[in-house]
């Protein structure tokens, strides 16, 4: 597996039919990157995705079997929540959690591994879905409408052949 050498770049891949993976190097010691993922004081300060979202709810009970819950809110009031449990907690190198967006969504197993590379930290996050179908469906979220419009447009061009 190729590890990106540059800071500021995330390497996204699909290591198997049921997984998606992100690898990124941070210019910080491993203990601090660990704290960023486990201390609620830090989590809500960065794990908020695209601009405009905040994380008003961030509850974590960081121990094997402990529960966690995140809720995000967009300025116009849109909300998104997910929760789960801590499956494995090995500070500062490995954090395994279960995650579910809601009853209609499949549960995923998320593994965050942190390794040291000099003074930097290599983060590998792997999300495992129960099936390929579940993974593909989750990856499609939020994209369907825009893509279908694009396909329809392209289809019209191709249909002219």
């Amino acid at each position: 597996m190729a590890i990106p050498t540059d800071l500021g770049v995330t390497d996204f891949s699909t290591p198997s039919d049921t997984e998606i993976r992100a690898i990124r190097v941070f210019d910080a010691p491993r203990e601090l990157v660990w704290a960023m993922h486990t201390d609620p004081k830090h989590i809500a300060n960065w794990m908020t995705g695209p601009e405009g979202w905040t994380m008003p709810v961030c509850e974590v009970d960081v121990r094997k079997g402990g529960r966690w819950k995140y809720m995000w809110r967009k300025s116009k009031g849109e909300e998104m929540a997910m929760e789960g449990a801590f499956v494995e907690v090995v500070p500062p190198s490995k954090l395994v959690t279960s995650e579910r967006w809601g009853p209609e969504w499949p549960e995923t197993i998320n593994t965050v591994e942190l390794s040291e590379r000099g003074k930097q930290t290599v983060l590998t996050m792997t999300i495992k879905y129960p099936s390929k179908e579940a993974r593909d469906a989750a990856m499609a979220t939020g994209m369907r409408e825009g893509m279908e419009q694009s396909y329809a447009r392209l289809d019209r061009v191709l249909a002219a052949a």
Binding site: G8, A28, M36, W46, E51, M143, Y151
Partner: protein, 95 residues
């Protein structure tokens, strides 16, 4: 061919070349009729690529970028005499 080329400002041969690339990539399929060979869009592989650059990537790219800046700020704070100022700033960890 002529129909396909019509919407673009490029020559017939240039369009043919693009079509061959798209075919090799499995993104379009060619019909069998000798004189009239309609192309149909094979959306699935294209869709997977597009979706991969979708929400998941968007979320983590944005979050990790923010984490880069936040880590920098936190490490600077650790070196300074007043480590509590970060919290008072709220989201003031941007550049």
């Amino acid at each position: 061919m002529k129909d396909l080329a019509a919407p673009f400002e490029m020559s017939g041969p240039a369009v043919s070349k693009h079509l061959r690339v798209l075919e090799r990539a499995g993104l379009i399929a060619r019909g069998k009729e000798a004189q009239w060979r309609p192309r149909t869009l094979q959306a699935e592989p294209l869709k997977q690529v597009a979706e991969w650059t979708g929400e998941f990537k968007k979320f983590w790219d944005a979050s990790y970028e923010r984490l880069d800046r936040y880590l920098e700020t936190v490490q600077q704070e650790q070196d300074s005499p007043e480590p509590e100022t970060l919290e008072a700033q709220g989201d003031g960890y941007s550049d």
